[in-house]
Symmetry: C2
Amino acid sequence: MLSKKTKYGIKALAFIAKQPGKKPVQTSEIARSENISQKFLESILLELRKSGFLGAKKGKGGGYYLIKEPEEIKMTAVIRVLEGPIAMVPCVSLNYYEKCDDCPSEETCSVHSLMIQVRDSTLKVLGENTLADLAVKEQE
Amino acid sequence: MLSKKTKYGIKALAFIAKQPGKKPVQTSEIARSENISQKFLESILLELRKSGFLGAKKGKGGGYYLIKEPEEIKMTAVIRVLEGPIAMVPCVSLNYYEKCDDCPSEETCSVHSLMIQVRDSTLKVLGENTLADLAVKEQE
DNA sequence: TTAATAACCTACTAGCCCGATAGGGTATTA
DNA sequence: TAATACCCTATCGGGCTAGTAGGTTATTAA
């Protein structure tokens, strides 16, 4: 299950991406438009800034803005930062690998090979989609 | 993330599937072989029986056995019973649909269309794999 | 008939994480 | 200099996961 944090984060990024021009967008505006708790959203945007997706400007007229072009932002990157591993099991995760304490061998594990297939198909979809694709969808 | 319950359930089913003949397998034997807490496994197998995947026989020489052929058991069905929805968001779930309380419209939601793609690719993989595929993997 | 076996059932719990909320501090701008 | 908006820390209720505990019921072999 996708956490609300990730869901809100993606929505916020898409909202910022579809803004005309590059002027900063305030947290309050995003929160209002997307029906998100403002305080919760603040912490999410902060994290996205620290991860290098967003830039911030303080004071009046401040807000958050995209650092890279929407076309350059793959959804795999966004989800890995907000949600963590994309794989359904740590033992098949590329970026958050962890050995199972039960299985003696990964080669003979029935779950392992299945989850690798799931991971790869998911990675393909999320790797093909960029923020630009989402922002366009939202405008139609 | 896949819960341990689902993981254990799949492993147990695969273990039963690869047994020679059709004689019942005891919970204790599966628990020992797969390093699973026996009591926890009991509750999982019970659920799999109630869902129609397994049959049970009480008393000495009893245990659990598959009701259908491994080739007929799709992994989508197993995971839906043990884990619940396959979709990452309730609003794109086929079997456990639930409307988001935030989004005003699903058509314009940026997350929605992305998650439909993820769901479909995952469904494809899990629909193509049956218990027979997993049991074979485990024997190699 | 009895004892052993193994499924079945109910109840409880420690620990973790999610989704916030609260209350400020700090930098920038008009 | 006052307003604005980002930044930071701390806290917390509720729900879920992954068990544990303790017993009941049905079946089989001796």
